[in-house]
Symmetry: C2
Subunit: 257 residues, 2 copies
């Protein structure tokens, strides 16, 4: 009955509207930064309303269908992005196809920062996605004039680094159950905000995606979720809709107690 969430247009999708009456290429719309609902969550909030024109001048909005690639590992890193809505997965591959998803990015997240001029991972849409695209060189030119932009990006990078270290602990030292408990809690927090006990969590990614994020196989993910369900910690009404029914117990598992 319920549709697969991956093919559902996310309700949180378009926030910055195109300027009315301006003809636009269908896939690259100029958004209205001043009206952007998520501005305060992004680096854009480093600029005041009256400075915003400098960002608006270089940004374009793009939309993606599920499974569409935004860029691939090895591509020239020409752009950086803010996610307006939807979810993308970032991943790296080994030559034989083994895949590690290094993160899922959500509304308000920043994406595409690259040490060299080359993306070090691939980015693919999980759901429908809308994002703001900034040409990297043009954005970096603004750093001289608005150093606060750089400061915001440093803050974002620092947060990501902390998250990456948590994920290393998870990948290197947690059991399958601990990994899934951690994942569900983090996803619940991201999708529903804090204190999301008993509110169903949309899980738009496939079991395979979850497996590749947690360093497991599809089967282990499925089995471990079934076991958590049988233990009464979670409910799985549909495969892509999971409810945490014992928040504290799940948290204890996630943290290794």
């Amino acid at each position: 009955m319920a549709k697969n969430a991956r093919n559902t247009l996310s309700p949180d999708l378009p926030r910055a509207l195109p300027a009315p009456g301006v003809s636009q290429a269908p896939n690259a719309i100029m958004p209205m930064c001043a009206a952007c609902e998520i501005r305060e969550f992004t680096f854009c909030s480093a600029l005041h309303d009256e400075e915003l024109g400098h960002l608006q001048a270089i940004v374009r909005q793009v939309r993606m269908a599920p499974q569409q690639m935004l860029f691939q590992e090895g591509d020239d890193a020409g752009n950086v992005y803010n996610i307006l809505g939807g979810i993308l997965k970032l991943y790296k591959l080994l030559p034989d196809g083994r895949r590690q998803i290094t993160g899922f990015v959500h509304q308000g997240d920043f994406l595409g920062i690259a040490a060299s001029g080359i993306y070090s991972y691939s980015a693919e849409a999980v759901t429908e996605v809308a994002l703001c695209r900034f040409p990297r060189r043009q954005l970096y030119l603004l750093f001289d004039r608005f150093p606060k932009l750089e400061g915001r990006l440093l803050g974002i990078a620092t947060d990501e680094l902390t998250a990456a270290q948590d994920q290393m602990l998870l990948l290197g030292r947690k059991t399958a159950a601990e990994k899934l408990a951690s994942f569900l809690l983090a996803l619940g927090h991201r999708m529903n905000g804090d204190g999301g006990e008993d509110k169903p969590i949309p899980v738009p990614m496939t079991r395979g995606d979850v497996a590749d994020y947690l360093g497991l196989t599809v089967e282990t993910v499925s089995r471990t979720l079934s076991r958590l369900k049988k233990s009464g910690l979670i409910e799985i009404s549909e495969a892509h809709r999971i409810t945490i029914t014992q928040f504290d117990a799940l948290q204890d598992i996630a943290e290794g107690f």
Copy 2:
């Protein structure tokens, strides 16, 4: 005969000398930034010679013995550091003692950046260590005046993020042999520079440290190294001195071919 590298004073240790004739607390020396040999590898190089006084005014040099803690996860993040010499390990713990080492930091590396005002990991000296300590608040005050500092830190954070993603791929998807091959190649590059075939790599950390870095056990690390040795890819003259004898073959393993 040869001493354990862990207890050897690293030959690369002290670079920035204390001002002569100035009395100093034994454990907090004011270094001479202008004479610093590794300045160009650190964020300090964002400032010109004539601006360097602003850094010099807030920096203190500290030294550590092996196994000494620099800070612990959860401590108030009062300082950030540049490594002058020696090696530290950064790690996170689970309540039952399981440990994940998230990185080893070496000469020229930056350390202590924290999203909140709290360190999210612990830092402990592996060898003797010398570092420059900067009070975080005072350093951040300089950002307004010298935004280029922030730019350098962003670059550093970006590089670390890329490394963290590589490590996630390693932890989540590589086999024990692939993990150790990757580790040895990276360590060799760090200790000996590029093209270090046939030059012994000092491995100052214990097998336990390596295990906790790669998400393995001590025994698996030891066994896997023995196997690589028997296959003729590496030589282990002493436990803490390993030579890569077949660089290309090891690289193929490391990358999953």
